[in-house]
């Protein structure tokens, strides 16, 4: 394959593909089909079974027989494949091959589109299960050729567009037939993604969590629709229900997204075939637990071009390490028995597939598992193992002939047979004309030397030790030679044309003067000795050692997942946060993740002793309002309510800001949805357990919250003049949005109650609505509101509204004018979680004052100080200290603003927020008073596990530098060896704020929080 220049095509059975019952007007019908026998080959009839010296007999598009004792019918065409290996051709399950994709129309119109553009379909344009790949085909012979050269014979094609992207078909790479011949199954799969369709502007979903919520709602709606409860026609849901029995393929991508896809699958009893990205090894345990089968793209990152040190600096260690680690992914998946198939998806060039496959095998992927993943496993997954995936009687004649072991670098795929059609990629037994000849014509005698590769010969004509410029072309059996006259000043040539038969060439020569004569060239018998030594074992592939996966697999990750320890912190100043106040010269014992004892001179038996002399021990900081550790979108602003989405779906355990927060003494954070809409999404309360999985960070039994928002952001004041078409556009409208949703939630519940009770007229099952379910939880006091708020009018409004609906608002967050109606807040019983000193960033914070916390507290409001910002969150101790300055709050009260009070506000104070025996050991050891500007967090523990240790920072940074330097050297080496490189890429870790829109973070954020 490396040297092929022509892909030759044999018209073995040109008429095979014309359908039997189709009329024929261009000639007469011919029905004879010959047998083909391929002999003397090593045949892998399956991934695990190999037959030596076997024969493969085929006719038309089928395999007639295979084995060592095959009866070859008379007249069968014989192909000698001695020394060659035959494999079943590969099955690709993830491709957009041959799909006719229109180009999305760019729109110059910035006005958001909230409604669907379709009628008779689902309300959301990004849900299009009714799309069928088989109705949008445009067979691409060029792409088919590339896939065949990579060993594929059968492909599952679909159009990966939209959250529910429709069905895929299974077809072959048969250039000779029509789609009628190629299609093995018209609808074989239903496809899911987390991404919006490129063909609609409809705003929802605008985030990963929005996509997840949408998929869930579709499952509910489809079930309900399928039971005949709807009064309208919905072609999308009908298609979705029909497609249910197909294989369900989820293009998840990244490992965390794979876990997210699997989570949705579990909820609805669906086992997705998950398309991964190649970083599954980083979370292998969680990946394994999904029990899912994966489609793994055989795609490895190129080395970064790090020759410019200023640019190289931008590449993160994690990206460099990934370059080293990625080729080991399949080995690790195989070792862990995670089932997978291999795919060309995500590859820039299909032709790198084979070299990547070999790389994976060199890096430890067992050959049989690789073959299984390319043949039997995918064939079985699409229920087509009766046709493809192995070489057996009755199956399609889809196989490849390889010059040797396909996993060896030097092997070429010579032929790829699809449905009995032979596609020659390289000749099986090329005629070798190399050698030294005696060339004679017109009384001239030359020595003709033919060298080079069999795919490209080079010729040299010598007479009396003089070299003549010579060109050769060989098209078996025809040889063309052009020999230039010795006189270099003249353009005179002798042209020779003839045939090669058995070491002898002869034919016609056209001389410089146009005279014709004959020529012959006879091969000399003395053969050139082959330099065998050269190739011997010299190029044995070197496998670099794999950089160990850290927890998480980025800088500051640890070699081992940090574990609980028994720790005795001795002789320190303990800020209990409780009525005991600040205890001097006190010991605290941490055991089994809890605070076990507080006292003087505690025995240290078995405990790791930390000397706390001169230091201060406090409960860990709890950030009531955080947007760190969130994947792809903090706002689902595609609609004015998004109660159906939840941050719990999109916790990102790999965010470096988790570590940075730990370095600032933060131990848990309430991850909030943004403030793009009056009813935002549900929150996630996490512990900052760096190196643990998202599920392990989530505190499952913590009370559940939802973000609401008021004011400029929800009325889109600062979104530009084109955003004027979503209700509400004023504070007046905001109230009505709430009225509407709470009213509907009540009615929704009533409908269900009536239906469940079986009484009354309601026989039709109501539709299950995730959004209204969630709003119902608020009314049932099972979910609590934390509301982004600024000015007193709107704050008052929401309290009054809640009172009308018989519940209370749990928290106002930001609440910068809380001081103006602290009395009313106190009466309502709502807490205030505010900034220490932010103001002036937008009109509604013109009256924000730093004395806010103090006034609210003095009026009996439960107050906390939060960050809403990845930078400020690591200095919340300083922010708390500001309340001592602004409003004379006592130091203990100020400290509680970031520990016990947020714990109370989040209703987790039974577990965290203070140093009390029995509470979780979420504690911080500070070098100084925690409120001092001069203090440093020295150790941060969560659940009794040390996650940050200032003492070890120097060591960690040295290791980062060492690994960076090593990897940069390895990459420079790779570049020098001529390997492909890519531009350095800076890892973007944007920071979310309340107003960040879309899935991605802005680097320069405007803090219109």
């Amino acid at each position: 394959m490396r040297y092929f220049s022509l892909v030759m095509v044999f018209f073995l059975s040109l008429t095979t593909q014309a359908q039997e019952y189709f009329p024929k007007n261009d000639g007469v019908k011919q029905s004879f089909k010959n047998f083909t026998a391929i002999q003397n080959a090593t045949i892998y009839v399956s991934a695990t079974q190999k037959i030596e010296n076997a024969t493969l007999l085929i006719k038309e598009n089928k395999i007639i027989d295979v084995g060592t004792s095959v009866n070859i019918p008379k007249g069968a065409q014989i192909i000698d494949a001695k020394g060659k290996t035959i494999y079943p051709s590969f099955v690709e399950l993830y491709s957009e091959f041959g799909i006719n994709k229109p180009t999305p129309r760019p729109s110059g119109n910035f006005t958001p589109q909230y409604e669907s553009s379709r009628e008779g379909y689902y309300w959301n344009d990004h849900v299009k299960p009714e799309y069928n790949a088989y109705e949008n085909l445009s067979y691409d012979t060029k792409a088919a050729g590339s896939l065949r050269e990579a060993g594929f014979g059968t492909v599952l094609s679909h159009h990966s567009d939209g959250v529910i992207a429709g069905t895929g078909l299974l077809w072959t790479l048969n250039d000779f037939g029509s789609n009628a011949d190629r299609m093995l199954k018209d609808k074989v799969s239903q496809h899911f993604t987390f991404n919006r369709s490129r063909f609609t502007k409809q705003t929802y979903p605008s985030s990963l969590m929005g996509s997840m919520a949408l998929i869930r709602q579709v499952y509910h709606d489809a079930k309900w629709y399928g039971q005949g409860n709807a009064s309208n026609k919905d072609l999308s849901l009908e298609a979705f229900n029909t497609n249910k029995n197909l294989i369900q393929i989820f293009n998840a991508g990244d490992k965390l997204n794979a876990l997210r896809a699997a989570k949705i699958g579990n909820e609805f009893g669906v086992k997705y075939l998950i398309k991964g990205s190649g970083n599954e090894f980083e979370s292998i345990n969680e990946i394994k637990k999904t029990g899912a089968t994966f489609i793994i793209p055989l795609n490895f990152p190129d080395a970064y071009d790090v020759s410019d040190p200023y640019l190289a600096q931008q590449v993160s260690l994690s990206d460099m390490k990934f370059w080293n680690q990625a080729p080991f992914n399949l080995k690790i998946l195989a070792e862990n028995n995670v089932p997978f198939v291999l795919s060309t998806a995500d590859l820039k060039e299909t032709k790198s597939f084979l070299s990547n496959l070999r790389k994976a095998v060199t890096y430890g992927l067992p050959k049989d598992k690789a073959l299984l993943a390319l043949t039997e496993t995918p064939a079985k997954l699409v229920n087509q193992f009766d046709k493809v995936g192995s070489i057996a009687k009755g199956k399609l004649a889809n196989f490849i002939i390889v010059s040797g072991d396909i996993f060896e670098d030097k092997s070429n795929i010579l032929e790829n047979w699809v449905q009995g059609n032979r596609n020659i990629i390289d000749k099986i037994n090329p005629t070798d004309i190399r050698g030294t000849y005696d060339l004679t014509f017109d009384n001239h005698k030359f020595e003709l030397k033919i060298e080079g590769e069999t795919s490209k010969f080079e010729a040299k004509a010598v007479k009396d030790s003089v070299n003549f410029g010579t060109k050769i072309q060989f098209n078996d059996p025809w040889v063309n030679l052009v020999i230039k006259n010795q006189d270099t000043t003249k353009a005179n040539f002798v042209r020779l044309s003839g045939t090669f038969v058995k070491d002898m060439m002869q034919g016609k020569a056209v001389l410089e003067n146009g005279n014709e004569t004959t020529w012959t060239a006879t091969k000399r018998t003395t053969e050139v000795k082959e330099d065998k030594k050269k190739d011997d074992k010299k190029d044995e592939p070197k496998v670099p050692s794999m950089y160990a996966v850290t927890f998480p697999n980025i800088s500051f990750g640890t070699a081992e997942k940090p574990k609980q320890e028994t720790i005795l912190i001795k002789n320190t100043t303990v800020w209990t946060g409780e009525k005991d106040g600040i205890l001097k010269e006190t010991d605290v014992l941490i055991q089994n993740g809890k605070i076990a004892r507080i006292g003087k001179n505690l025995p240290s038996t078995g405990a790791k002793v930390v000397d706390g002399t001169g230091k201060h021990l406090t409960a860990g900081i709890i950030d009531e309002h955080s947007h760190i550790a969130i994947s792809n979108g903090v706002n689902e602003g595609g609609q004015n309510s998004s109660a159906e989405v939840t941050i719990e779906d999109v916790v990102n355990s790999d965010d470096i800001n988790i570590y940075r927060n730990l370095a600032g003494g933060v131990t848990s954070a309430n991850l909030l949805h943004g403030s793009a809409n009056p009813i935002g999404g549900r929150a996630a309360f996490i512990k900052l357990k760096w190196g643990y999985s998202p599920d392990e960070m989530l505190v499952n039994d913590a009370p559940k919250y939802i973000k609401f928002a008021l004011g400029e952001n929800v009325k889109q004041s600062n979104w530009g003049d084109f955003s004027r078409n979503r209700f509400p556009q004023s504070r007046m409208g905001v109230e009505q949005v709430y009225e509407d949703y709470f009213t509907r939630a009540i009615e929704y519940k009533n409908e269900w109650d009536a239906y469940k009770s079986g009484k009354g007229k309601n026989k039709v099952m109501p539709r299950f609505d995730i959004e209204l379910e969630v709003i119902g939880e608020i009314l049932a006091k099972k979910r609590f509101i934390t509301c982004h708020s600024y000015v007193q009018s709107e704050i008052n409004m929401l309290m009054k509204l809640a009172e009308r609906y018989n519940f209370k608002i749990q928290t106002f967050t930001h609440i910068l004018e809380g001081y103006k109606l602290a009395d009313k807040m106190s009466a309502h019983g709502v807490a205030g979680s505010t900034f220490a000193d932010w103001w002036a960033y937008k009109y509604e914070v013109n009256d924000a004052i730093p004395y806010n916390a103090a006034i609210m507290m003095n009026e009996g409001v439960q107050v906390s100080i939060n960050s809403d910002d990845a930078e400020m969150s690591r200095r919340l101790n300083q922010e708390a200290a500001k309340t001592v300055k602004y409003g004379n709050v006592t130091e203990e009260e100020a400290w509680n603003f970031v520990t016990l009070n947020p714990a109370k506000i989040l209703q987790v104070d039974n577990k965290v927020g203070s140093i009390k025996v029995g509470k979780d050991a979420d504690v911080v050891l500070w070098s100084d008073s925690p409120l001092s500007i001069y203090t440093r967090a020295e150790k941060t523990l969560v659940d009794g596990i040390i996650f940050y240790d200032l003492e070890k920072e120097a060591e960690t940074l040295a290791l980062i530098q060492k690994e960076r330097a090593e990897l940069i050297n390895l990459m420079l080496d790779a570049k020098n060896k001529g390997m492909k490189t890519q531009l350095p890429k800076k890892k973007e870790n944007g920071h979310y704020h309340c107003d960040t829109l879309g899935e991605y973070c802005k680097e320069s954020h405007y803090k219109y929080n």
Binding site: S316, S318, A822, D837, W839, A840, I855, K882, K986, E988
Partner: protein, 430 residues
């Protein structure tokens, strides 16, 4: 005659801006405070004499004998600091970030040396008055945007008009150095980092602009060129060239640019990676006005606390360093300037070194050290008394502040609202 005054807070109800203090006609003696001079030195028990708005004398109270003063202030147990200086500031140029009508910080066009921030400086901005109670009494009002945003001026923060506020008009020209690399793609889909192909042409364009400007200034011209006219003073040292640059390569290029063009005074603004080229900066007498201390590392692999340690790295290498705080919500954050310095002290500098970053050093960098930045006799009495350590939030409680000897109001929109609503609730409880 000894006359101790009791500190009096006059709360002006109503929503007016604070009234600027009148000229100080009386002599003042501040006794017993721990004086932080802003040059690294401390006088534990100090005596500060203020006459005609200037520090007439400062020294050790245990040695010096007090002369006759109109006002005696007993500040024993308290601290005195020189007024903090906020360089590279847009105070008074924007009132509310999100309200475009209130935004006057940048002009269109690339090279605008003639654009002068001072005339747009709103001395009555509510943000200005909130900085004073934290000790920030001086600022360099600086335009933003384009390659050369314009010319800055230095003000004191208690004035009726910009004219009254000005202490040094047109002190410097600001230049945004191009970035040597740029990122392909856009923020939603970042591509690779790549060399900024336009870097060289962009640097050339700057050079050409300076060449032309200096050529113009060095010859007789019948027609006046307003922007080039504004470039006057860069070579004589009358004006400082402030170059905004963060990367190593950019900083090195900026220093080469200084040398090539005989720029007398040049300052790097930002300078995130300045510590990597510190010897070069020191050798060429280039000071750094460092990025906001309270910010995140630029890269995932960097020391989590690098922004906190950056100042120390430069100070240790002998570079003159001041702090500035351009960035998000920069105007309202001005009042946190002392705490940026405090954080530098938490991460390696001693407290007096940290103080220099917002007082003596900044005054030197801005070229106002003849009058401001340190507590030294002969200099302006622009200083304040704090109940405790002014670099720490808990103890930054300012009881008295003076600008040029004038005792300024420490009230603000915030303290007024505080009093108003505290009053509301007190009234309700009666």
């Amino acid at each position: 005659m000894k006359k101790y005054i009791v500190l009096l807070f006059i709360s002006l109800f109503g929503f007016a801006q604070q009234t600027p203090a009148p000229k100080q006609t009386k002599s003042i003696l501040i006794l017993g405070a721990k004086a932080h001079l802003g040059n690294g030195k401390v006088i534990e028990n100090s005596m500060i004499s203020i006459v005609d708005g200037k520090i007439a004398a400062i020294g050790d109270a245990t040695i010096m004998k007090p002369g006759k003063h109109d006002i005696w202030i007993d500040a024993s147990g308290k601290h005195v600091y020189p007024g903090f200086i906020a360089p590279n500031s847009t105070l008074g140029l924007v009132e509310i970030d999100a309200v475009r009508a209130s935004d006057d910080e940048s002009e269109i066009g690339e090279f605008n040396p003639h654009v002068r921030s001072i005339i747009a400086y709103n001395s009555e901005s509510k943000l200005v008055e909130t900085t004073r109670p934290n000790g920030v009494l001086l600022a360099q009002i600086t335009p933003r945007g384009g390659r050369i945003p314009g010319t800055s001026s230095i003000v004191q923060l208690d004035a009726w008009t910009w004219e009254d506020a000005t202490i040094k008009e047109n002190d410097g020209i600001h230049l945004n150095w191009p970035r040597s690399y740029s990122r392909a793609g856009w923020w939603a889909e970042p591509g690779g980092i790549e060399m900024n192909k336009n870097y060289d042409p962009q640097v050339k364009a700057i050079q050409e602009y300076f060449d032309n400007a200096f050529a113009y200034l060095g010859s007789k011209n019948s027609k006046k060129d307003i922007p080039y006219e504004a470039m006057k003073g860069l070579q004589s040292g009358e004006k400082t060239l402030f170059i905004n640059a963060n990367g190593e390569k950019e900083i090195i290029d900026a220093v080469l640019f200084k040398k090539k063009n005989d720029i007398k005074k040049m300052v790097i603004v930002g300078g995130f990676y300045a510590f990597k080229v510190a010897p070069l900066l020191k050798e060429n007498n280039v000071a750094v006005l460092l990025n906001r201390v309270h910010s995140l590392p630029l890269l995932e692999d960097q020391d989590v606390n690098l922004p906190y340690k950056n100042a120390k790295l430069l100070v240790d290498a002998g570079v003159l360093v001041g702090l500035q705080n351009a960035g998000d919500m920069e105007r309202m954050q001005t009042r946190n300037l002392p705490f940026y310095a405090g954080t530098c002290a938490a991460w390696g500098l001693n407290k007096e070194q940290a103080l220099q970053l917002i007082t003596g050093n900044s005054a030197k960098i801005l070229g106002i050290d003849n009058m401001y930045g340190t507590l030294e006799s002969g200099k302006s009495a622009t200083l304040f008394i704090s109940e405790g350590d002014a670099l720490d939030m808990k103890t930054n409680v300012i009881s008295l502040a003076f600008i040029d000897g004038r005792q300024i109001s420490l009230d603000s929109h915030h303290t007024e609202l505080y009093q108003r609503y505290k009053g509301k609730f007190e009234q309700q409880k009666k």
